[in-house]
Amino acid sequence: MKIKKLVKKTLFKGGTILDPVNEKSFKGDVLIENGKIAGVGKVSAKNVDVIDCTGLTITHGFCDLHVHFREPGREDKETLQSGSKAALAGGFTRVCVMPNTDPPIDSPESVRFIAEKGAECPIHIHPIGAATKGQKGKELTEMGGMAAEGAVAFSDDGLPVMDGGVMRRVLEYGGMLEKPVINHAEDVCLRSDGVMNEGKMSTKLGLPGNPVEAEGIMVHRDLELAKLTGAKIHVPHMSTKQSVDHVAEMKKHYDNVSAEVAPHHLFFTDKDLYTFDTQLKVAPPIRSKTDKKALIEGLKNGTIDCIATDHAPHTIEEKETTFDLAAFGMIGLESCLGAVMKVLVQEKGIDLMTVIKALTVNPREVMGFNTSLCADKTPAEITVFDAGETWEFTKNNIYSKSSNSPFLGESLVGKVKYTVVKGFLTSL
């Protein structure tokens, strides 16, 4: 990976331009001048650095609504800087970082800390603030002050807001501020000590199961409470058919609903846990074939708006242990495009536009970020990838501080070549 400052004029020449806002795909060039868009289409310019994009796809920079960069508190796993590199490698120019750090991001001061440190990073980093103090699910945080410091949404991610009464207050208050509320949907009583999907596989492996209802019931509750309060709800990392069904149903009656799915839930099934591979231990768990199918269908028909990685770095020691002790989560930024293109485009024949929208315009709309990235004078946020390249994901492709990935050794389709953001060009 090479990161260098863009020269005065750079021309991305002869690629397929995929515009997810206008849903158009055409051959052409992109000219960037002083870090800003200066021409899209047939562009002729003099005194430019030319980047040959023959056979490559040029599109908006990807935006991930769900990453854990572990700063402050666990800088041994990831920092805002190291996470940014992982993002650039995956074609992401913009991410929202979850507040479950140590200490959690639950005050205007801590939001400012992330915003200031994020500003020094080579990508755009937006803090998500905790919904309750200490993520304890009891008292509201100072959301107004946090929003003023740059919090784009509120969530206790990693932990659910279990108390329905508190969740209602969070939605009312977050709704007043017109910020989305994101709830880690998992009923902890139903989940109990479950460490994988409850089903034939958990029964065979003797591992405590986590039933799909633990998520579905919580998603249903949150959707009903969002409708009651008029707030904007964003459902993170959906893993079950039940959740997809609930979101699809609510979307018929209520507009302020969006949902995301993680690449690992689209790629794996619980059958892949037959070797007790701790890299596949994640919350919510990898589910059954039926659930995977429903998630893919949900993304295809628009029930699910976004693909978000839930990038969750952990140390080797936290994963190289027995299944019960292993940490939940996996990194996902570097492998995201290759994983989702393999499953969705190559295997299921879903059109590339749908997939790219879920990585670009849709997440930006959820957060109210600018989506007109092709407009003249817009600061350039561009990702260039080879849609046809089949490649093996190895440790060399990882830029995160951690390497806990179940995709290691997997064959993926679609590889990021260049990422442009904040006036810098990353070449891979």
Binding site: E198, G199, K200, S202, T203, K204, L205, G206, L207, P208, G209, T275, F276, E317, E320, T321, T322, F323, D324, L325
Partner: protein, 309 residues
């Protein structure tokens, strides 16, 4: 005469002919155990470590006896006396033991999958002596050896497994083994202690103990763990005894003499009445002896012991 798998981690997918080979070999070792000098030199010079990360009395003693009867050198490791308490990782512990040049590990661990993990860290043959709520293959093999001894065959036998199926590695290994060997299995116990997807494994579930007794040739009665009570998995001992307890009164209602097994340790007066445990229908102590013989057979076959001339 050798087995297809280098390790014995579980009976899921384990070949029927290998299970049969182990059982047949166990019977030859039963003869050895009946001799005045109960020792053969089959595993002389081989070193086996018993890695017990969880308390065990009978399984550990059974394995140790089997190893001694085969003239192997044995070392015991138990978590309570080990460096695990000093914070050493699982990986470091097993690699340290491996570095001491051993031929086989017998492992008990509270976590499902731990023996499989062990095979990634060490070169030795690994035998699972119980991994959490996953499998306990040597127990299932000794149970099947006992059934074959009693009935002369396993195929077609009707076996009821009674009690806490959800938390039982004995049940899971027995289910896999018995189904593979052509027996029929019905599970009976409180609905809260039977995993919801268990019928996917080819077994039936019936919560009526009297119907299961009427149907079965043999009952494998599992220990009820008292710590499960009070976390609302079952309400009380009295309730359990009246719905699922194996009593003489209950057995007397049926003409057929059903064979009673129990992997031990028993809660007399809870899942099994003393009179039943000590009665003629029970083969519980035969199971214990077959346990030593079956484990001798497993060690012998996996470690390539020389057949006795």
């Amino acid at each position: 005469m050798s087995l297809k798998n280098r390790h014995l981690l579980g009976l899921e997918g384990y070949p029927a002919e290998d299970i049969q080979t182990i059982i047949d070999t166990a019977f030859t070792f039963r003869e050895v155990l009946d001799r005045p000098i109960k020792k053969v030199p089959s595993l002389q010079g081989q070193t086996i470590v018993n890695l017990f990360f969880e308390n065990s009395t009978r399984t550990r003693i059974s394995f140790e006896l089997a190893q001694k009867r085969l003239s192997a050198d044995t070392v015991n490791f138990s978590a309570s006396t080990s460096s695990l308490k000093k914070g050493e990782s699982f990986k470091d512990t097993v690699q340290n033991i491996e570095a001491m040049k051993i031929d086989a590990c017998v492992m008990r661990h509270p976590t499902p999958g731990a023996p499989l993990r062990l095979t990634e860290y060490v070169d030795a043959v690994v035998i699972n002596a119980g991994d959490g709520t996953h499998e306990h293959p040597t127990q299932a093999i000794l149970d099947m050896t006992s059934l074959q001894e009693k009935f002369g065959h396993i195929k077609g036998l009707k076996v009821g497994i009674i009690g806490d199926i959800s938390h039982s590695r004995v049940a899971l290994s027995n289910i896999h083994g018995l189904i593979t060997m052509g027996a029929k299995v019905t599970l009976c116990g409180p609905a809260t202690l039977i995993p919801p997807h268990i019928t996917d494994l080819g077994v039936k579930v019936n919560h009526n103990i009297d119907e299961v007794i009427a149907w079965a040739d043999a009952l494998n009665v599992l220990r009820i763990q008292m710590e499960r009570m009070g976390v609302s998995l079952f309400p009380s001992v009295r309730e359990y005894r009246s719905l699922f307890g194996i009593t003489t009164e209950r057995l007397a209602k049926h003409k057929k003499e059903v064979v009673i097994m129990h992997p031990g340790p028993m809660n007399r007066g809870v899942e099994i009445e003393s009179a039943v445990a000590d009665g003629d229908q029970a083969i519980i102590l035969d199971q214990v002896l077959n346990g030593v013989a079956s484990r001798m057979a497993i060690l012998f076959l996996l470690l390539g012991g020389k057949a006795e001339s």
